[in-house]
């Protein structure tokens, strides 16, 4: 069934009229089906006919990654972002975006792994505890070092990490001293919050102390709707 260039977008809206939109997606030809020749269609499926649906989600749960590999990859990510932006705020936003897509996937994966006893979080404190323990432990193998509520503002919370792993090998030059590459982790946290319907902004700030020169505080600022809902729920 030809539908011209609406086939190219995965965001085509469904239509209730069966003559325009026939039922299930299998009757919709795969994207680029009519445009590609038969040779390139071989590339869509692996020769062993295995797809991502055959892999078990717990397969990589116990596996570890070398810190050096991650450090090199993260360094390249920072350099890649740096070439495409002008300004520190933009760079932090780009890193935040990278972390965001990771956080969306991590949220679903972690809750799936909890199994039947999985509970969705509906309260602010609940979701923050979830991030401090479960999310942090699954990425960094240790819970975050502290969670505080701001005394001045109702909608601000602070998550403290004494030594963010992503920053361990990075020395920010003096002219960019406001940059904190933990904006990447802030993106992960923001995505987890957004997914659970607690929209807000998460930013990373470095607060070096004598004993902990790499201490970072993630400032979590929730939207007003979240605070209203929280007070309604009692």
């Amino acid at each position: 069934m030809q539908r011209g260039d609406s086939l190219n977008s995965p965001f085509v809206p469904f239509s209730p009229n069966p003559s325009i939109q026939q039922g299930t997606p299998t009757s919709t030809p795969p994207l680029k089906h009519t445009l590609s020749s038969s040779t390139s269609s071989n590339l869509r499926y692996s020769s062993s006919r295995k797809s991502i649906y055959d892999r078990h989600l717990n397969r990589s749960q116990r596996s570890e990654l070398s810190k050096a590999s991650f450090a090199f990859l993260f360094g390249e990510m920072v350099q890649y972002a740096q070439k495409r932006v002008n300004g520190i705020a933009d760079l932090e936003k780009k890193l935040n975006l990278h972390g965001y897509s990771i956080g969306q996937r991590l949220l679903e994966l972690l809750l799936w792994r909890e199994g039947r006893s999985a509970k969705r979080e509906t309260r602010i404190l609940g979701i923050l505890q979830f991030i401090t323990t479960t999310v942090y432990r699954s990425i960094f193998n240790k819970p975050a070092d502290g969670l505080e509520k701001s005394r001045d503002n109702e909608d601000e919370y602070m998550l403290i990490d004494n030594d963010p792993m992503v920053n361990s090998y990075i020395s920010v030059p003096k002219e960019m001293s406001q940059l904190n590459c933990a904006a990447f982790v802030a993106g992960i946290i923001e995505a987890v919050l957004d997914g659970c319907l607690f929209p807000g902004r998460v930013t990373a700030h470095s607060v070096p102390t004598e004993q902990l020169p790499a201490k970072t505080v993630f400032l979590i600022k929730f939207d007003e709707s979240v605070i209203e809902r929280e007070s309604v729920l009692g």
Partner: protein, 141 residues
């Protein structure tokens, strides 16, 4: 006994939909809705989204049994961590079977999400996904 299944995204946009009939007790797995009933299915399921949004703050569980009734049809809902709603329209009660079906589809959805080229709220057009959902339906419903 026929079922209409839909996955709705965070912006209330449909991501996937399918129809099946029961495979138990001699059913052949093909949905038997009356013609005029079929076009109403989508409306019924999407209108229950309002109720889902109210109920979701009252309970921390992911599987919410029957959230809405319309004539003789019931809508059951499963809400994922990322606020994606799996909605099933059915005419008879079958809580446990439906819960197992939802768990299977949740597994499939999470795997779809692991694809770096798949973003949240995108349509699911994979034939493999479709096949596996129908397989799960045959197994449990």
């Amino acid at each position: 006994m026929s079922f209409y299944f839909a996955i709705v995204g965070t912006k209330d946009n449909p991501i996937y939909e399918a129809e099946f009939g029961t495979s138990k007790q001699g059913g052949d797995g093909v949905a038997r809705f009356r013609e005029e009933q079929r076009s109403m299915n989508q409306f019924i399921v999407h209108s229950s989204l309002d109720i889902v949004e109210e109920v979701q703050w009252a309970t921390p569980t992911m599987y919410m049994k029957c959230v809405d009734k319309f004539n003789n049809l019931q809508v059951s809902c499963f809400l994922t961590a990322g606020n994606i709603k799996f909605l099933l329209l059915h005419d008879q009660k079958a809580d446990d079977a439906i819960r197992q079906f939802f768990t299977d589809v949740y597994d499939l959805y999470t795997k779809t999400l692991m694809n770096p080229f798949y973003e949240v709220d995108m349509r699911i057009t994979s034939g493999v996904f479709d096949g596996k959902v129908k397989q799960a339906a045959k197994k449990y419903l």
